[in-house]
């Protein structure tokens, strides 16, 4: 049941690198990450790779396998034929640190720019009441393991480094949607989604949704509703007026 598989792994750093060929033993039931580990233990001890849980829970082991953005720990060898050469490369949208490890700091910077949850004033801890149906919408987005595969895939930044400052990517547009749909959040991030996080760049191609290992419906459940909310706010005179009055009352 074991066989020798053919692998091409990208090796190098920010100055450049190349694909290297390896022959590695593959056993029944294994995933790509097992092969990478065997490679480390037997042939390339300094091969750089990120991983933690090995069960699709932490989102560390993102890479591109035959060009497809995937988690290495959830990609089973049985999905390939024995003779096939499997190519493993780092995520393309981020700068390489070394081998399969990329610099994902872009994501942490974007995360920091989304205003945090703002609870209602005067509601004491322990007094929060929410219905399951109401929390479920945001809960879907909170399944996100921050593998950043969607960020890596979205065409807005995949080959357009220049868009990065203006576009936060599906993960963080979804984070805004998550907060907007939180039953108790009191902040309004709609303008910001459009003006500062680049919601308008998204043309709902759904590529992000396709690669999400958590199966989150990023486009349908987060991005499109978010676009609708922004549109509603911008063009609906009733909403506009309501907001104005509300603000005036508060100040």
């Amino acid at each position: 049941m074991s066989y020798i598989g053919q692998f091409r792994v990208w090796r190098g750093d920010s100055n450049g690198g190349s694909l290297e060929d390896f022959e590695v033993e593959v056993n029944e039931g294994e995933v790509i990450l097992d092969v990478i580990h065997r490679l480390q233990a037997t042939q390339a001890p300094d091969l750089a790779v990120r991983w933690n849980c090995k069960a699709g829970k932490c989102g560390s082991c993102s890479a591109e396998i035959n060009g497809k953005p995937r988690l290495m720990c959830m990609t089973r060898m049985s999905t390939f034929s024995e003779g096939e050469t499997i190519t493993i490369t780092p995520m393309r949208a981020f700068t390489v640190v070394r081998d399969l490890v990329t610099d994902v700091s872009y994501n942490y910077e974007k995360a920091r720019q989304v205003p945090s949850f703002q609870p209602p004033e005067g509601l004491a801890p322990g007094e929060y009441r929410m219905q399951q149906v109401d929390v479920e919408r945001s809960q879907e987005f909170r399944k996100c393991i921050e593998c950043f595969l969607c960020q890596n895939t979205c065409h807005v930044v995949r080959d357009h480094e220049e868009n990065k400052p203006a576009f936060s990517g599906p993960r963080f547009l979804m984070r805004i949607a998550e907060l907007e749909m939180h039953p108790l959040d009191t902040a309004d991030r709609r303008d910001m989604a459009q003006d500062e996080h680049g919601l308008g760049y998204c043309n709902i191609t759904k590529c992000c949704t396709e690669v999400c290992p958590e199966g989150i419906h990023i486009t349908d459940n987060a991005l499109i509703p978010m676009k609708e909310r922004v549109a509603g706010r911008r063009y609906d005179p009733v909403v506009w007026l309501g907001n104005k009055l509300f603000r005036r009352n508060r100040s």
Partner: protein, 653 residues
């Protein structure tokens, strides 16, 4: 002189799991300049993997629950070896800590009346675990990660710098703690950036250790590469003590097949929600394994057990939900006696007990995990499961209230601290432990720093020594076979798994200690290839130092404790021994060896439980664990003694 990047903080939190993040939040809210250092990316710590839930007696599902019941369950689960003060604080404060998370934005699953829902788990009398499906740890980590971001946003608004008061140093590994020459107090921490391999020095009067567990010393484990016992070993080398190291929890249900995923966890939530264990004959074998100390507390027939899921007032719970140590041993015996599953485990069946929809809704990541990794559809077939090394009860000995170790300025919280869980941790009690004691450690550190009149000083010679130790693997010894760190690691794991695993014997542990000594000599010859930039071989070589120290502590303490209790089972001493209940084994480092110091183990008497807590228990129950002498302090002791005498009389008659 070593080239290092220097930073100055009031407190350095080592670890960004639940404990570390909660400590950092507290320290920053108390006004301290705080650094959080972690080996992985921010948000990836082990806590992210926790599935089942977080125990807190909020009483949302069963209003009979309260802190006293939780306290009793925790002490029972730990077979009364727990530090009772920690167990008390934990039970009392857990609900507040969970509610607090909601103010940070957490979204737990709800009850019909809109409160936080709570689920059943092994050893907990009432449904007690706050949860989000089977990804509770992810919710905890993300919530606190986002809370940290929100604090940084406040600092940004005030100073124009997100990182003015709270900064995360991700992919940065601490290899040594530094102490002041004259006072022995913490003066800083030394480490390296994983990315560049460059050294970094944190000068700080307080360090909170929150590095998690030690599972990577064992072959079959649910733990990730991070669990190399760094906090345990660093603390030892800085002069701190560890307790309870002989107690290692083997979770009863890890995956057993395919081989590459062996050990990956199957959450106890499966059993909490109705899943049952069966052997190859289809028998629900747990009914045969209820130990004497729990007799009467668990259902005796499958019918009663099944009724319990819907009517808990009139039925007793299923023995599938006995504490983990009991279930793990039961599975071990079934397999040994030839009633195991094809791949050497037993069956865990949820498919025949719940609709497919229900399973997918309640246990989505388990469904996903088996489907993706084992080609098993858990809505149709049973899972195959067996014990896996999961959690270490042992850890840094701390003061329960302040979380300070015996080294001034060194605090510890979470899995790397010891005492709270005694000889066995109940499921769900770790996440709550992280919150309660993470916060307390942050507080303890803040109070300590406020009380200092002078900052402890980092010695350049200590920095140089730490750098030299870290670079040793690039500097091959003149003679002897060069060692591959991966091979050495595998040999260590095999040794611990085979000889100091779930069932232990004196001669095997002795053999393990011999092998460890031998492996330690090979440690000196470890050589790594390549350079310092993101080099996993080098990282492993550094972590190995810590794994060796921790493994020796586990083995030595396991050899000394001649009884079976919780996560320590001695084939040659199968009984609980009341004398051992009040005895702690305290490990400290010897200074015989700079690279991997040896371990010394000493006995220490456990402080007796405060009277009001003692009286929360029935004297009859206590009599299963305590010595006669200790029991005499209980107000009902006289009547128990009288009853005992009467029964003894009857037997003679």
């Amino acid at each position: 002189m070593t080239e290092v990047e220097r930073h100055n903080y009031d407190v350095v939190v080592i670890g960004a799991g639940g404990a570390g993040l909660r400590a950092a939040i507290e320290a920053r809210e108390r006004g301290l300049r705080t650094a959080v250092v972690c080996k992985s990316l921010f948000g990836k710590a082990h806590t992210v993997m926790a599935e089942g839930g977080c125990a807190a007696s909020m009483g949302n599902v069963n209003s009979n629950d309260n802190w006293q019941v939780h306290f009793r369950d925790t002490m029972r689960g730990g077979k009364f070896l727990n530090n009772w003060r920690m167990a008390e604080l934990h039970a009392k404060e857990a609900p507040d800590r969970v509610w607090e998370l909601e103010t940070y934005g957490a979204l737990f699953d709800r009850t019909p009346d809109g409160k936080i829902s709570q689920r059943n788990f092994g050893g907990h009398t009432y449904p007690r675990l706050a949860h989000v499906g089977d990804r509770t740890g992810l919710e905890l980590i993300r919530t606190m990660q986002q809370k940290i971001v929100s604090l940084q946003q406040e600092d940004y608004a005030e100073t124009g710098d997100y990182e003015a008061k709270l900064k995360v140093f991700a992919e940065c590994t601490i290899t040594e703690l530094l102490t002041d020459d004259s006072s022995g107090a913490i003066s800083g921490a030394f480490g390296y950036w994983r990315e560049s391999g460059r050294f970094v020095l944190f000068e700080a009067p307080a360090v909170v250790m929150a590095t998690g567990g030690i599972g990577k010393s064992f072959k079959v484990t649910s733990n990730s590469w991070e669990y190399t016992g760094d906090g345990h070993a660093l603390a030892l080398r800085a002069g701190a003590t560890l307790i309870n190291m002989e107690f290692v929890q083997f979770h009863p249900t890890g995956m057993v097949w395919p081989p590459s995923v062996k050990g990956i966890l199957v959450t106890e939530g499966v059993r909490g929600d109705g899943g049952v264990l069966k052997n190859s004959e289809g028998k629900r074998f747990m009914f045969d394994y209820v130990p004497d100390v729990f007799k009467g507390q668990y259902a005796e027939t499958p019918e009663e057990a099944d009724r319990w899921y819907t009517d808990q007032e009139n039925n007793r719970r299923t023995p599938d939900l006995l504490p983990r140590d009991e279930v793990a041993r039961a599975i071990n015996s079934e397999v040994k006696e030839g009633r195991g599953s094809p791949h050497g485990g037993v069956f865990l069946d949820i498919a025949s007990r719940m609709s497919a929809e229900e399973i997918k809704r309640r246990l989505p990541s388990m469904y996903h995990q088996f489907k993706e990794l084992a080609d098993v559809d858990i809505t149709k077939e049973p899972m195959e499961v067996g014990p896996t090394c999961h959690y270490v009860m042992g850890g840094i000995e701390v003061d329960p209230d302040s979380a300070q170790s015996v080294v001034p300025g060194l605090f510890a919280a979470g899995e790397c601290s010891g005492g709270m869980h005694g000889s066995n941790r109940l499921g769900g009690n770790s996440l709550s432990d992280l919150l309660v004691f993470g916060r307390r450690a942050g507080q303890g550190a803040a109070d300590y720093v406020a009380g200092l009149d002078r900052r402890p000083v980092v010695l350049q010679s200590d920095v140089d020594a730490a750098a030299r130790m870290a670079l040793l693997p690039f500097d091959p010894p003149e003679s002897g076979e060069p060692e591959n760190p991966y091979t050495l690691h595998q040999d260590l794991q095999q040794t611990m798994n085979d000889l100091v695993g779930i069932i232990r014997k004196a001669d095997e542990i002795e053999q393990a200690l011999e092998r460890l000594a031998e492996l330690k000599t090979r440690m000196r010859r470890v050589v790594v290839e390549g350079h310092r930039q993101y080099n996993p071989g080098w990282h492993l070589a550094i972590d190995l130092r810590n794994m060796f120290m921790v493994s020796e502590a586990v083995a030595k303490a396991a050899l000394m404790r001649t009884e079976s209790r919780g996560g320590h089972t001695r084939d040659d001493y199968p009984q609980l021994d009341a004398e051992w209940r009040k005895t702690l084994l305290v490990c400290s480092a010897t200074d015989d060896d700079e690279l991997v110091p040896g371990i010394k183990v000493e006995r220490k008497e456990q402080e007796p439980m405060r009277q009001d807590l003692f009286e929360l228990f029935d004297v009859e129950e206590l009599s299963k664990y305590y010595t006669e002498e200790e029991l005499a302090a209980h107000p009902d002791y006289q009547s128990l003694a009288a009853k005992g005498n009467a029964e003894a009389g009857k037997e003679e008659a």
